[in-house]
Structures are given as structure tokens and as C-alpha cells.
């Protein structure tokens, strides 16, 4: 078997890179300079501030790649290219609607990038991940409990807390912890066969989100939990049971809580409630259609004047002002990142990485679907953000952190470990 495997292995080929980071970086920079330039000509206030923010963003982007390439010897940087491309689209769109918010969004990207690098360093060693499980789990539950105690009602949900002038959304940070706690090594999974402990932790998280009335995030957590439970147990029966129980529970909640039912009333009937509960969805549909393939141009759209244009409805703004092609690029990039995560999982160094990568990709896809299909009335509008693009600091940090989980599953991220492998091959 051993020798057979050896023969199957492809002969070492000449080292040609199908993806050249510098070339890609130049293209991304070109996109950002063109789009940023257009935004600068269009906005009427805070132009110098926005100019500095765009300049700072480009500088950070280049510094990251130069450091990653030369100091950390990173050779597979596709994920970062995608992350910077999407963050850049988000930044220019947010800046074009709310020029004063550009700086905050830029700071969020910086913190997100820092989180990305720190998580990659943490994930290097399986033992470290195993050791941090319990502290992180306790921290997550504590954060949600604190949220429930301190939160003020915001858009019908209790998921915001104020810390020193910044309003943060703890549920976004808990997403990172949720995946971190769920990612365990095979040895740990096999010694604790039952899902009970993890199930209790997950139920605690989802329950807290229900109490906060943040149904969108609760749904994201639940779907991610299903993926992780399957990855952990490899057993469809367990998952089926959990799924059936959850659907039943959700049905009962909707039945008994008229509030929830009212929120979903407009679903699939948006045109009947065009000017009240279906206002946002109908406007997204109308204005996206008018954008066409190449869009109306920055600042020419009308969706920007609708409430929550840069958060929940940002996909509509991109469709209208940048066009369908750019919007499809945004959606497809997440789909292909998910395909990449699945391929990585098969060759991961440990189930820790396989679970973290697949769960992160699933979380991003679910959140993207809830957002995109929510505003286009294919799913109920639940008010979740579009990863990397929507205005919102904690959401941006969470998106970068999830990409770190995917990248950590790639052996190329840790060149020193990779050398050991190549010597053997």
C-alpha cells in the first residue's frame, strides 16, 4: 500500500505559480484606486478624511503582503487577496454613503487583520487549541450573559452593547469562539464520543441569541452547529434528530410568539406590503434591476437613501451602483472559498483544522445566503450582515477571523511544517 501510494504521487514539477501574488495585488490595487477615486469625486463632505482612509487602506494592504511574503514566507495568499478585495468594496461603498464612517470601517479592517494574524499563530499548534477550549467556551458564555444584562434594544434586537463610545455586537465575536470550541482533535473527539457537552454549550449560545431576539444570528449559529456536529460525529442519525428537534422548537416559538410571526409576515408577500414591512425588500428588487450588468455608477443609486442601506441592504447598493457582475463576483467568491475549505479538510493536519475550516466556510455561506436571499425575498429578512462588506466593526473582525480558520487548514500557511512533509515525500 505504502509503495503504491508513492508511485501514485505526481512527479515533482517545475515550480510554476498559477497565481502570482504581485500581479494580483496590482490588479486589486487598480480596482481600489479606480473605485476609491470615483467615490472621492462624488462625496461632498469629509473628502480629506476619506482620502487618508483610502491611502491608509492601500498602505496596510501592501505592507501585509510584503511582510507575509518576505518574513512569514507565505506562498498561498489567495484568501487574503479575496479578503482585501471584498473589504475594499465594502469600504468604498460605506464611504460613498456615509463619508464620516469610513475611518471606523478602516479601523475595523485593521483590527480584523490583526485578529487574522493572531488566530493563524494560535492555530499553529493543535495542543494549544485543545488547551484553550474551556477558557474560550467560558468566555463566550460570559460575553453572551453580559450582553443580555447590559444590552439596549436596537432594531428590535438586544444584541448591542456600548463600550467606551463604540457599540459592539458580542454575538459576532462569539461566532469565532463557537467555531474555536467546536474544533477538536480526533483523539479528543474519540475519547468523548457523546456530543452532550458541546450540545449544551451550543444550546446555551443559540438560546441566548433567541433571548436577544437576534433570530438571524441564532439561525447562523444553528446551521454552523449542524455542520460541526456532523463533522464531529460523522453520523447522520444524530444530526437528523437534532435537526428535527430544532425545527419543532422553532415552529413552536413562531406559533407562540406573535412578534416573530409578525416579523416574517411580509415574507413572500413583499409586494402586498410594499410601503411598510416589505419596503426594504421591494426597493432592493426594483433598484437592483435598474443597475443592470455594469451599474449606475457610484452615487447615482437611490437605494442608498433607504434605511440600513450600508448594513443589511448593502448587496442591493452594490447591485445598483456597481452592477450585477461585481455583485456576482462577491457571492461567487464565498462559494469558491467554501469549495476550497472542503478540499483542504480532506488533507488537513488534524480534525481541528478540518472542522474549523469547513464550519467557517459554512457560517460565511449561511450568513451570505441569509443576507442576499433575505433582501431579495427568497428567505425571510433577518437582518444579518454581508461578511467583509457591510458597515459594522465586529462583523468585519469576525469575517477576517473566519478566513484565518480556513487558511490555518492549509499546510502552506506554516512553511516550517511543510518542509518536514516535503522531505518525507
Amino acid at each position: 500500500m505504502n509503495r503504491l501510494a508513492k508511485e501514485k504521487e505526481p512527479r515533482p514539477r517545475k515550480k510554476t505559480e498559477p497565481f502570482h501574488w504581485l500581479y494580483m495585488l496590482l490588479l486589486v490595487t487598480a480596482i481600489q484606486i479606480i473605485s476609491g477615486g470615483t467615490v472621492l469625486t462624488q462625496i461632498e463632505e469629509a473628502q480629506t478624511e476619506v482620502l487618508f482612509v483610502f491611502g491608509g487602506f492601500l498602505a496596510v494592504e501592501w505592507l501585509y503582503f510584503i511582510f507575509a511574503r518576505n518574513l512569514a514566507n507565505q506562498r498561498a495568499t489567495e484568501l487574503e487577496i479575496i479578503a482585501f478585495l471584498l473589504s475594499g468594496f465594502g469600504l468604498v461603498t460605506v464611504a460613498s454613503v456615509y463619508p464620516h464612517y469610513a475611518l471606523k470601517q478602516f479601523v475595523a479592517i485593521l483590527i480584523g487583520l490583526a485578529a487574522f494574524v493572531i488566530l493563524l499563530a494560535l492555530m499553529r499548534n493543535v495542543e494549544v487549541v485543545n488547551a484553550l477550549h474551556i477558557p474560550v467556551a467560558v468566555g463566550c458564555v460570559g460575553l453572551l450573559a453580559l450582553n443580555l444584562l447590559l444590552a439596549k434594544v436596537h432594531n428590535g434586537a438586544l444584541n448591542w452593547i456600548n463600550v467606551g463610545g463604540f457599540s459592539i455586537q458580542p454575538s459576532e465575536i462569539v461566532k469565532i469562539g463557537f467555531i474555536f470550541v467546536g474544533a477538536a482533535s480526533l483523539e479528543k473527539l474519540q475519547s468523548t464520543r457523546s456530543l452532550t457537552t458541546y450540545l449544551i454549550f451550543s444550546l446555551g449560545c443559540v438560546g441566548a441569541l433567541f433571548l436577544m431576539r437576534d433570530f438571524g444570528t441564532a439561525l447562523i449559529f444553528f446551521c454552523t452547529f449542524m455542520v460541526m456536529a456532523f463533522m464531529r460525529s460523522g453520523d447522520f442519525k444524530t444530526i437528523g434528530l437534532i435537526g428535527a428537534g430544532a425545527v419543532l422548537g422553532a415552529g413552536l416559538i413562531i406559533y407562540f410568539k406573535p412578534y416573530v410571526a409578525k416579523r416574517f409576515k411580509a415574507y413572500r408577500h413583499v409586494w402586498e406590503y410594499m410601503n411598510d414591512s416589505g419596503f426594504q425588500q421591494t426597493r432592493v428588487l426594483i433598484y437592483s434591476a435598474s443597475g443592470g450588468l455594469f451599474g449606475l455608477g457610484v452615487g447615482n443609486g437611490r437605494l442608498r437613501h433607504v434605511y440600513a442601506a450600508t448594513t443589511d441592504l448593502i448587496f442591493g447598493v452594490i447591485c445598483e451602483e456597481w452592477g450585477m457582475i461585481v455583485a456576482f463576483c462577491v457571492v461567487l467568491s464565498f462559494a469558491f472559498v467554501a469549495v476550497y475549505a472542503l478540499r483542504l479538510a480532506r488533507h488537513a493536519r488534524s480534525t481541528v483544522y478540518a472542522i474549523a475550516a469547513v464550519a467557517s466556510a459554512a457560517l460565511l455561506l449561511v450568513q451570505l445566503s441569509l443576507n442576499v436571499f433575505g433582501v431579495t425575498d427568497l428567505l425571510p429578512l433577518t437582518g444579518v450582515t454581508l461578511p467583509f462588506i457591510s458597515r459594522g466593526g465586529t462583523s468585519m473582525i469576525c469575517s477576517w477571523a473566519l478566513f484565518a480558520f480556513i487558511k490555518s487548514a492549509d499546510i502552506k500557511t506554516y512553511p516550517k511544517l511543510e518542509i518536514q512533509m516535503e522531505e518525507k515525500a
Binding site: A5, T38, Y340, R343
Partner: protein
Amino acid sequence: MDFNEIFDILVIVSRYLVAGLAVLVLGSCVVSLVTRRFGTRIGSYLYDPGSKKRLPLSHWENSVGRSKTCDVVLTLPDVSRFHAVISKRRSGWVVADTHSSAGVFVNGSVVTKPTPIAHGDTVSFGSASFTFVDADEDDKEQEEREKRRAFSRSAAKRAAAMKPEASFYPALIDEAGDKAYVITTESCLFGRDPGCDARLRYQAVSARHARVFSQGGAWYIEDAGSSNGTTVNAKPVSGRRRLRDGDVIGLGGVIFIFNEHYKVKKDSDGEGR
């Protein structure tokens, strides 16, 4: 055309440009992500000395147990469904017992916490025992073996090239030192009978007395059912006995000296008498 009109044209151009570039960037990222090859080979395995089978450990983490979902499936009654996990960590290979009923043992001692295993260690899952073969060490051993083989081949060639006049064979030399019975074959039968490889015309030597043969590069002697017996350094031989240069061999009381490197002239083939 005023300034504003130029701007308007630039805005229109930028829309097409941004869309095109975005497709280009995403396209190359996707091609790179989806077509990446993962050339990983772990190559270590568990060797079962009984059936001479290899159970490959083809992942970084391998589950061992009776369950069909395990990476290494052992269908034995005392192996638990999920018995153990063998994983490759930065420090090396580690085996951990995952609450099995019959236990995991490394070289006979029970495993209570994740225990490092080295090349050649015996790893047991209940009653099933295996030798752990680390791919790195296995490859190294094979390389060394090949090197040694290549070296001995070249050494033989060099020796042949340097001394074209003579070659060396082991031989039995009689007590007086004037007769040498050279052994040119792998196995040589000594005796009085004409059918023997080396004929000894002594009364005390049986018709088929003793056999000298080589095995694994060493020379041995064994008695071929003689009536008066065979001795090496005055000790009687039962079964086979290793011969060393200068050993004194007695065949029915007749004394010979074993010379492992007897010089034979090139032109004289066969036994020089």
C-alpha cells in the same frame, strides 16, 4: 468639454473597468484555489509480523478500532469500536487510548496518556500487536541498505581490478601445510567418496564426512553423518558451527586449518591439490 464632462466619462469607464478587473482577480484566485494539488504522503504504517500485512497510516490523525468508519479497521473481538488514535504531531508520532476496554500498549507498557512512539516500537491494541514503521526511518534504512550494497559491489570491482593475477577463496589446509582443499562453491561436501566436492584420501574420514557452506557472508561447517565425528577447535560439532579464519578442524581425527582467504592463482581453477 468642461471638467465635469471628463469626470462623467471617467465614471462610466471605471464602472466597466472595475467589473472586468474584479472578474479577472476572482477568476485567477478561484483557478488557483480549486486546482491546487495537495501532495501529501504520510507513508508510515503498522506492520503485522504474523500475516506480514501493512496497515497504512495515511492521515495526520488515524483512528484505530473495530468500527468500519475507522482509518485502521481491526476486526478482532477484544478491540473496541473506537480503540485508539495514532497522530503525527510536530514532535513525532503519538498514540492515545480512547477509552478502549482492552487497552493500548507500547512495548508492553500500558498507555494512559498520549505516548510518543518511535520506529520499530511494538504497539498493541488489546491482543493485536504491530510493529510501528515510521516512513522517515524506513526510507533512511532502505537508503542505507542500498548504499551498502552499492559500496560492496564497487569494492569487489576495485579488488578485481587491482589484483588480476590472483583471487581468494576459503580453503582447508592439511596439517603439514602442503595440501589445500579450496572451496569455490557456496556449499562443499568433504569425504572419501569420489562423489564429494573435495575428496579426502584418509582412512579415518567417512565417505561423506562434513559440509562447509556459506550463509549470509559467513562460513559454517556441519557434520554430514560421519562415523568418527567432526570437531572445531577440539570441540565436537553438532548441528552447524560458524568457522573463523585459523580455526582448527578435525575430521575423524585428521586435522585441517581453515583459511578464509586462500590465495589461488588465476589460471588454476578448481581445487589445487
